[in-house]
């Protein structure tokens, strides 16, 4: 780890102010990606602005047919939340299977989606459920939030304050885990929502995306059989030592089928 200046603020405004003063600052939420990266000397921010002291960013509230999850709420808290388990059981299960207990007790939903790791789980839920990402400046639709590998619609001085998930009619997330890291080689989240059937795919491509052709097929008939004929193009898939593009494309279909089965 290289030297850096450390700031901890008790308010969103204070954190943003510290960021604006920093030469090359970084917000740190749970630090589950940022800190290992810094320890490996792969990142060298001039300033770290710790969001851990901002009480208003923590907590889960039910707002009508939606659940609003504060950005600094840990995966463990989401997994254990009775409200989440009741309204969107898929989301509680997804959170409860991120990383390991240490990660789940430090890592946060805001940190995860702001980082937008191509193999992270939460982005698939945000997209498939049609969630709204709330920031200190605005509200961003889930569909507009994830813009590329490790890229989001957030401005440099913009902080996620919470994520609002509308309750789906049914939803399921199927994750094919990397045997080493347990990140998603392919993760598919299927949801029946007021907005129709939504399929989000993580792990397979450089950025989480909607599986539009799968959605089309499922609109006709919501069954795993409907996915069989869908073409999942290999040329857009990631490829690494754990899974080739061909295998990932295959897994997208298999995980979609299994998620659909789990919804019905």
């Amino acid at each position: 780890m290289y030297e850096f200046s450390y700031h901890k603020s008790a308010s969103v405004d204070g954190a943003v102010e510290a960021m604006n003063k920093a030469e090359d600052g970084k917000f740190v939420a749970g630090g589950q990606t940022m800190l290992p990266t810094m320890k490996h000397r792969l990142a060298a921010p001039s300033d770290i602005i710790d969001l851990g002291g901002i009480a208003e960013l923590v907590g889960i509230t039910v707002e009508g047919d939606s659940i609003n999850i504060g950005a600094m709420t840990t995966h463990a808290a989401v997994a254990a939340s009775g409200d989440v388990q009741t309204m969107i059981p898929m989301l509680a299960k997804l959170a409860g299977n991120i990383g390991d207990p240490a990660v789940r007790n430090r890592g946060t939903i805001g940190g995860s989606i702001a980082n937008n790791d191509p193999a992270a789980d939460y982005p698939a839920a945000v997209l498939a459920l049609g969630a709204t990402v709330k920031t200190n400046k605005r509200e961003i639709a889930g569909d507009d939030f994830f813009t590329g590998m490790f890229e989001t619609a957030l401005a440099d001085d913009e902080l996620i304050t919470s994520v609002s998930f509308p309750k789906p009619t049914a939803a399921a997330y199927m994750k094919f885990e990397n045997p080493a890291s347990r990140y998603a080689i392919v993760g598919v989240c299927v949801a029946k929502t007021d907005d129709g059937i939504r399929v989000a795919v993580t792990g397979a491509t450089p950025c989480v995306h909607r599986g539009k052709q799968l959605e089309e097929a499922l609109k006709g008939e919501f069954s795993s059989a409907a996915c069989v004929g869908v073409d999942v193009p290999e040329d857009q898939m990631n490829a690494d030592i754990h899974a080739s593009a061909e295998y990932r494309a295959h897994l997208v279909k298999v995980m979609t089928k299994r998620a659909v089965d789990a919804c019905t």
Binding site: H40, P179, A180, I241, A243, Y247, H250, V254
Partner: protein
């Protein structure tokens, strides 16, 4: 049975300190004025070093010293050595390139050591390390085992043409060819034994202290064998004379072989602490561990079996290419030669075996012993080939094994590959394992699985291993530079409690418990009054350390022999005190008694008398403290049958192990709970190799599995609850009747798993690790997906 004696599942004494955080690992030790070291390592797999500029690093904040290979050479330190000679087919010893502890003009793998930076803090050392300016001339890299010796390959070492370390033929080639020529059937198999990173939980570490007054170096190391480290560092690396070097292996968090060897960092830290006259501490981070711990396995082989019309094995031929990495690690040459080819008979009566091992250099980390060391490679090859042979002959895998087992009445059994197995009952283990695994009703389970879209498979592995490592004369004939006995000292204190000094070393095995059980059994001293001491050359007599499942089979016997000497001496003391003839003294349950009387004396009283010899046998030395050494007459030969049952999801390629049965012959069990733990750990290690672990370099020699993000270690949810039992036989040459259990699981498991997957998919073979994608592809090919 004596309370807490042999056969009791006593809870481990050592666990209290580990569980309450009071373990004392090398990295836990901090001393006054300590400095911190960081190694500058090569980012290139193969390069010349045109220049090294340490100026900016030296001027960096907190830096105490920056030392390079030139400094090391100027002081005459090193090079590192390989302690076992293998004679190549040209009659010459294996090619042994110079192995400097800090590179001299050339680097040969990513992670190779170039310089050491010593600073007041680790962060300062790392900062300065980035400022060491090295001009490399990058060369093409050789990383692939199978093609490393091919014509036209980049040469790595001048002394090793074609990157060959040795070509070692063994066996009666002509007779084997003749048997093949007249065989009813020949089964052939090409396979890869995948490279593994050993991955002990505690990374390697070294802390060197130099005392200017006594001119003594104390090195705390993560070592499995402190005396071997001291011997090699003294006698071969010129670090310091043996009597001026103390090596301490305090609590060590796992070894699995990787902490046997003398590494560059250890020698350099020992040398540097004297040079800078400050203690120097180095602890490997996990990335460094991946890059620079000795790796394991890495063979490419072709195996052939010739059979008669009944499936009886007539002859076997094995061609192996083994990757030794960039340099020879301490015991590298021994692993793919003697520890491998001499096990190729397996449990079978195959009368003729011919093996050729070509060992090659590549631009990868050195390869050496990893749990099992050579024996897992041999067992995997034999047990896979036997399954292929069974399929070729249309026989059940159990049946072909039975037809070829060495029968129980044939022991001692001389194999065609040197080893003479002393004892075993292979059929008994197979029968028991098949019953436990419900082998005969497997097809019903397979049918049921098909209704769920799954494919079930069952796989056998009937392994034998040679451990104890072993008679000194035998290993000496084979070219080992050391003897391989073990030592013990059993010392009574005047108050009657006992300190046991062993030359073995515990890095997780539970010796402090098991060895105390031996002593309580033999001497009748309460278990809690016995302390086992190991791991410090200043405390224990010379000893060979722990590897090759040898601690109990060799070191345990040395303890027993020391106890026998104490009993013999105690009889003299008791006879004098009880006014009886020595021949009338009996010893049982901790008491010396006069036969046929109620006159008796506890061993604690005898010990007190020996230290306060006011009334004492004439001419007898005072004191109650005995040394013993044990050099066994043979290796020991644990064996057994493991049965793995898997369920494959052909749609994803995911393999689930649904049932795993192990029936082992370890001879007598001293602590069944500890043995079962070793069996569990060994199986998980083997399952890791079979399903998950694959160390991979790219063509430029970059290690692409250099962290747990990419190198898959087995976890609890990768394995089921194991069914473990035993089918013991008595090893006649081992006075305790024990055989060793630490490596068996890692040896037995890989072929059991792969045989099960091959069975599930109805395919001939799939290489390890059988990753989901590879299994999925195999299922596609077999038209199951």
């Amino acid at each position: 049975m004596v309370e807490n004696g042999i056969g009791a599942s006593v809870r481990r004494k050592e666990d209290k300190r580990f569980l309450i955080g009071k373990g004392n690992y090398t990295d836990d030790i901090n001393v006054a004025a300590q400095t911190h070291a960081y190694f500058v390592r090569s980012p290139h797999a193969h390069a010349t070093i045109n220049s090294i500029d340490t100026g900016e690093a030296m001027a960096s904040t907190g830096v105490v010293a920056v030392l390079t290979g030139d400094d090391l050479a100027a002081d005459g330190i090193g090079p590192l050595i390989c302690g076992v000679t293998v004679t190549s087919d040209d009659g010459e010893p294996h090619r042994a390139p110079a192995h400097p502890a800090l590179a001299q003009g050339k680097v040969n793998y990513v992670g190779d050591h170039v310089a050491i930076v010593i600073a007041e803090t680790l962060a300062q050392a790392r900062d300065a390390a980035e400022k060491v300016d090295i001009d490399y001339g990058v060369l093409p890299a050789v990383t692939d085992t199978g093609s490393a010796a091919d014509e036209g390959q980049q040469q790595i070492h001048e002394v090793a043409p074609n990157n060959m370390c040795f070509n070692w033929p063994f066996g009666e080639k002509d007779a084997v060819e003749a048997a093949f020529a007249s065989a009813h059937k020949i089964s052939t198999l090409d396979l890869v034994n995948n490279r593994m990173v050993t991955n002990p939980m505690e990374p390697r570490a070294a802390l060197g202290e130099y005392n200017e007054g006594t001119e003594e170096i104390t090195l705390h190391l993560t070592t499995q064998n402190p005396h071997v480290h001291r011997l090699v560092l003294s006698a071969f690396n010129n670090l310091a004379p043996e009597h001026k070097l103390r090596v301490v292996g305090p609590d060590v968090g796992g070894g699995f072989g990787a902490k046997i060897f003398v590494y560059a960092e250890e020698l350099v830290v020992g040398w540097a602490c004297r040079k800078v006259k400050r203690p120097v501490k180095w602890t490997s981070d996990r990335t460094e561990a991946f890059l620079s711990d000795a790796h394991g396995r890495d063979h490419v082989a072709t195996a052939e079996m010739a059979m008669d019309e009944n499936g009886k094995f007539l002859a076997m031929r094995v061609m192996t290419q083994a990757n030794l990495g960039a340099y020879l690690s301490t015991f590298a040459t021994m692993v793919p030669s003697y520890l491998y080819a001499f096990l190729l008979a397996g449990q079978y009566t195959t009368p003729l075996i011919y093996s050729e091992v070509k060992a090659v250099f590549t631009n990868t980390a050195p390869v050496d012993a990893c749990r099992g060391a050579g024996r897992p490679e041999a067992t995997y090859l034999v047990e896979r080939l036997v399954d292929v042979a069974a399929a070729d002959m249309g026989l059940d895998p159990a049946e072909i094994r039975r037809r070829n087992f060495i029968p129980v009445d044939a022991f001692p059994y001389q194999t065609p590959v040197v080893q003479c197995y002393d004892s075993g009952d292979y059929e008994a283990a197979l029968d028991k394992a098949m019953a436990m695994a419900d082998y005969d009703s497997f097809s019903a389970r397979a049918d049921e699985a098909r209704t769920r879209g799954k494919r079930r498979g069952i796989g056998l592995s009937s392994y034998v291993e040679a451990c104890g490592i072993a008679p000194s004369a035998a290993v000496g004939q084979l070219g080992a530079g050391v003897g391989l006995w073990e030592s013990a000292q059993v010392r009574f204190n005047p108050t009657g409690n006992v300190q046991v000094f062993t030359g073995a070393h515990s890095h997780g095995q539970g010796h402090e418990t098991t060895f105390a059980q031996l002593v309580t059994e033999q001497l009748g001293v309460p278990f809690e009054n016995i302390e086992v001491i190991h791991g410090d050359t200043a405390k224990t007599q010379f000893g060979m350390g722990t590897y090759g499942s040898r601690s109990l089979a060799v070191g345990g016997v040395a303890i027993a022999k020391a106890c026998e000497k104490l009993i013999a001496k105690g009889k003299k003391i008791a006879a004098h005190a009880l006014e009886a003839a020595e021949g009338d003294i009996e010893f049982a349950d901790g008491n010396f008694s006069v036969a046929g009387t109620d006159k008796a004396m506890n061993i604690a009283e005898v010990a007190f008398t020996a230290y306060v010899p006011h009334s004492y046998p004439e001419g007898l030395e005072p004191g109650f403290d005995e040394n013993a050494f044990f050099d066994p007459l043979n290796f020991s030969f644990p064996a057994g049958t493991h049965i793995c049952e898997v369920e494959v999801d052909p749609e994803t390629g995911v393999v689930e192990i649904v049932k795993y049965t192990a029936v082992d012959d370890f001879g007598k069990l001293v602590n069944p709970m500890i043995v079962e733990g070793q069996v569990h750990g060994g199986i998980v290690h083997g399952v890791g190799q079979a399903l998950l672990e694959g160390c991979r370099y790219d063509s430029e020699g970059q290690l692409i599995t250099a962290s747990y993000m990419d190198y898959a270690m087995p976890r609890a949810d990768n394995v089921p609850s194991f069914d473990v039992d035993y089918a013991p036989t008595n090893p006649p040459h081992n006075p305790l009747g024990v055989k060793g259990c630490g490596e068996a699981g890692a040896i037995g498991a890989p072929p059991a798993v792969i045989n099960a997957i091959s069975n599930a998919l109805g395919i001939k073979h799939i290489d390890m690790p059988a990753t989901p994608e590879n299994v999925w592809r195999a299922a596609q090919t077999a038209a199951l997906g």
